[in-house]
């Protein structure tokens, strides 16, 4: 750009000089010659500028552009790392929602059977990781509680209480038991759930929880 700037400056000087010469020279047949000389000067100035442009090393300005861009932009590795962190968090969030969604589904399906009371469902996932991140259901654990009517049934047949003085203190199991009918119903539900999720029956586990105070 400096060459063009110099050319423009030279042209301004030549034109202004030509204008003043035109005014200062006496009227006569000198004017065409002055115009001719000044025109030649302009041509020389333009040719000089063109030769300067041709001799210039154009590639010298290219490293400045790339160096400037590197200095002002963060490296691509840093950007990809930051993006992958967000991506990983997104996947974890989706996984958590998937787990809770499956748990809700299992709970709802188990709720269709009036013979059992599923209080909690735990879903264990097998996250293989990797690029294609295959998600498998490792196991489903249903926590089945004793139903209220189970306790009421048991309340009718309270075993006789024996008091023996002098014997060591023994933990007395006063909590209501899970009936065999509940167990049978829970197993049936577990089998249905396993079928529904295309799992083997041993992957749907049942945990029995005996609730205190008849709750």
């Amino acid at each position: 750009m400096d060459i063009i700037k110099d050319l423009v400056q030279t042209l301004i000087i030549i034109v202004v000089l030509a204008v003043f010469l035109e005014m200062l020279l006496p009227q006569g047949n000198m004017n065409p010659y002055v115009k001719m000389v000044m025109g030649l000067l302009i041509i020389i100035a333009v040719l000089h500028a063109i030769s300067g442009l041709l001799q210039q090393n154009w590639l010298s300005s290219v490293p400045d552009v790339t160096a400037g861009s590197k200095a002002n932009s963060p490296p691509v590795e840093e950007i990809i790392d930051n993006g992958k962190k967000i991506q990983s968090k997104n996947k974890d969030l989706a996984l958590e929602k998937y787990r809770s969604g499956i748990a809700c589904q299992v709970k709802s399906m188990a709720g269709l059977n009036p013979q059992i009371d599923v209080v909690d469902v735990k879903v264990l996932l097998d996250d293989s990781g990797g690029k294609a991140r295959k998600i498998n259901i490792k196991s489903i654990i249903m926590v089945v509680a004793s139903k209220k009517h189970d306790h009421e049934d048991e309340a009718g047949s309270i075993p006789p209480v024996e008091i023996n003085v002098g014997e060591p203190e023994r933990a007395c199991d006063t909590s209501p038991k899970i009936t065999s009918e509940t167990k049978k119903a829970a197993k049936k539900t577990a089998a249905s759930i396993a079928d529904f999720y295309n799992l083997s029956t041993d992957k749907v586990l049942i945990e029995y929880q005996v609730m205190e105070g008849g709750r």
Binding site: M1, K35, I80, K97, K131
Partner: protein, 388 residues
Amino acid sequence: MYKRCCRLLLFLTILLHLFPLTAYAADKAVDEQLSELDMSKVQKFVNQLDSEITGAVPELNFKDLVTKIASRDIELKPVELFKKCIKYIFREVVANFSLLGKLVILAVICAVLQNLSSAFEKGTTGQLTYMVTFLVLITIALGSFGLAVQCGREVVDKMVTFMQALLPVMLTLLVAVGGVTSAAIIHPVIFVTITAIGTIIKNVILPLIFFSAVLDIVSSLSSQFKVSQLGGLMKTAAMSIMGLMTTIFLGILSIQGAAGAIGDSVALRTAKFAAGTFIPVVGGMFSNALEAVIGSSLLLKNAVGIGGLIVISLLMVIPLLKIISLAFIYKLAGALIQPVGDSQTGNCLNSLGNSLITIFAAVATVGLMFFFAVTIVLGLGNLTVMMR
């Protein structure tokens, strides 16, 4: 009957549990990701904006702006904006009235002197006086023209700096939606081209337009020596370089972007297929949850992009209005002088106005290119997610 009821209930239960999950996941994810993103550079730039721009938009906080866009809480009033722009143009024109006055008075003096030149003993005395007055007029005109060129250079500089702060955030979110290949491909291209465009516009195109205007003025000094063709050549060269640059920039960006997006979407489709086919029907639930969370990243990326576009518009609008109002002043001065004075002065002012319009076009083209660059990066993410 009991079995049918059970099936219906089961189906309804599954449906009910599938849909709220996605919406909840998306809302939570947007907030989490926003806190994860490093927008300090963008905010730092926004804080450094001119008092004129911040006066138009009070308390411009980029993060708040993005949140508002993501939650569709922002109100854009195009009519109000248009009214403000018109008001600003009138204010600028009124502010430049002193320049207009100076130009018109000097031009009238020029015209009177030219008419009186025959009254002097020697015609050259009148001509010399006319020349001096004309040079004063040119000096004043070129002074404000130089300021307009400087203003254009500053805008380009600011836009390049802003793009360099905005693009890392957008590319990070592009990686978050799965566009790793796109980000890796587009990163060097976009940063080098943006810097190159900024440098070329500042150091080649705007000076060429300036030189062309100077040569136009010099040509009007004398009817004998004309260098206006050289000026025209410079202007044509500047416009050709700009056109070529725009075509190359947009072409490379769109082709590379599309290639990267297709590669990414194929990789992501494989991941989705692996998760979706293992368990029939409900197996797609993980993909749905993942899509909802990725959708939130996409929403955030689009909001950041739109926020960026708003800031670019704010950066551009005031200097561009200044340049266009100055061009109007020159054109008005040229139009007023034409019936009174000589054609030389009128043509000179008119050509200055035209050169200012060219500068306006150059700066607006840079803004438009950056607009397209942001839109292409936005589109890349959308394409990646759309093709999953």
